[in-house]
Amino acid sequence: MNRRTLPLVALLLAVVIGGLAVGSVGARSKASPTKVVLWHGYTDYEAKAIKAAVASYNKTHPNVHVTAQFYGNADYALQKVLTAIAGGKYPDIAYLYGSWAANIAKSPKTLDLTQRVKDPSFQFDDIWRAARAVGRVNGKVIGVPALIDNLALVYNKKLFRQAHVPFPTAKWTWADMRRAAKTLTNRGKKQFGWAYVNDGSEDTVWRFEALLWEAGGNILTSDGKHAAFNTSAGVKALKFLQQTVVKDKSVYLDSGNGNYANLFNSGRIAMLYTGPWDLASFPNVDYGVQILPRDRNHQTISGPDNWVLFDNGTQRSTAAWNFMKWFLSTNEHLKIALATGELPLRRSELKQPGYKRYVKKYKGIGTFVRNLANAEKSRPTTEKYPRISEAMGLAVQSVLLGKAQPKAALDKAAAKVDAILRTP
């Protein structure tokens, strides 16, 4: 750059900076209500529901102005929120997956809600235990529940009738499941009894974890320092999968592209272990929902997500918390559930008059709600979980591809997990 160009560059810079300054001054002079910015990834009717809730809150709370902003696909929300924090301009509230709790807990801008949730009017204990657990990291509460779901058995009634197999009952065992899957499989018609996501991702792992818990096993030891899934319970759970997949060949293995949902909807698959989020993908199937078949018990796994609050000064934090308290109150959340088909977060929602309408509106949803009582355990909230999940995923995947035996695969994964847990 030479001397002649400098004035021009300076002029451009001045215009840009000037514009920014004018813009921000203009924004500030108008702002009398406290600003609360909420980031979410909702689209369609879910987006409508949250906008309606925010609008009604703003109307009744003139001192606060809540803005709900769409941050795109929730899969990338953590990166976006972290980038925003690094840039110094971040939301007050963000919807973040439960599996990120340990990561976001480390940010100095994340609000510690441990004292806030003790507020009696919030009735924290009214919320399902599994949903509460996922916001708790090292004894600190860093998020309040945004969503809860769980895995249940969804089945195609027509295929059951065709094969003269009675519908699954709440007393089904793994053996019943295996037998039915075998009967419902018809290689000639390219029809499968069951489907399993076998890409080795968390999709593979959490379904296995439900089986592991049903057999009485655990992911880690109670002190969280060692792997505990390579016990007889873990081997039993993985053997059950191995027998149905490798020996009976009655399971469609999905390579992680979600093909299973399309195939279930076109009547190629009789049973799925899946959650309420999938139900809208099955418009062509008359399906039923049952709790998971048992081994020692009927446990399920739930994948709760959090609303995480960030520190933008006391005034905004308090306003954000007050909004959250209102938003998660029994009546308000039931409205969201009614509009979106999400499961209730609070036990008290089940006693509301609107709950009956909700169960009627969403076919099979009642079983998922009842099944929440079976969500007894949670995945460990540690930032090492993604690595633990990877090791377990490879173990399950290798067995289901017929490349390894359950005991050996789980032992190998456990050794890896122990090493991961040893690193600081």
């Binding site: 750059m1 030479n2 002649r4 160009t5 021009l8 990561n103 390219k190 076998n198 995947q397």
Partner: protein, 292 residues
Amino acid sequence: MRLVRSEHTAGWAFILPAVVLIVAFGLVPIVWALLLSFQSSDFVSPPKWVGLANYQALRHDPDFRAAIVRTLEYTAIFVPVVVLGGLGVAVLLNAKVRFISIYRTAFFVPVACSTVATAIIFNWLLEPTFGLVNWVLGWFSLGPYGFFQDPNQALFSVVLMTSWGWIGFNAIIYLAALQGIPGELLEAAEIDGASRFVTFWRVVWPLLGPATLLLVVWSSINALQVFDEIYVSTRGGPLQATTVVVYYLYEQAFRFFAAGYGAAIAYVLFVAILLLTLLQLWIGRRRVHYTS
């Protein structure tokens, strides 16, 4: 006013937006990634300076080594397939037949297809039970193959998918080069009694040298950086059979949040690509004739 009107200033003004964008989204991230590779960072807590620790850890990481081997395997198959495949298609498309522009368009369509769309299409084409490919192979009593779901076939299936998308591009470059070959040289060869094969081997192929060099360099860089199609189709699996270097980098940085480690992988890859390209250009300079 004289200042603003001067050509020099106007020139700067015109390129300023581009310069700002390149600096902001090109140079800054490149330098930042280099700094990041010397740090231990999870994107959340303040980063710690660790010097060369990330690079040292890479030397002892068996998964990284496996990813390198896999990437080299992929490159060793992909580059000959797309370069020779592109040449073959270009020779066919150079023929004087009717509807030639339709054929040319047909071969170029996959290039215009987004890589994500390509991967989604191939997911279904190569689906073992319901896919079209196994169905057609079944007529000839072949298969069924596992493709993306078989650890031994997954990498080859990825090559099949990515080369489908790339052959058209290489064919267009070769086609342009073929049409640039002076007709009198071909005539001279014919008069001298050269067979079609000899003409191709002794006259056409050497004249295609610059195009071949360009495509080998370009395809190699692409192969070493392959990511999108793998992300959409196999996610590095099954059993890490398609975990190539960039996918491994992605997992480290964005699944396990080891940002510094991921940045170190990126720089190792950058240096490797730089060296390979220099080697190819050096060989090319000795073997390729730029004038006919």
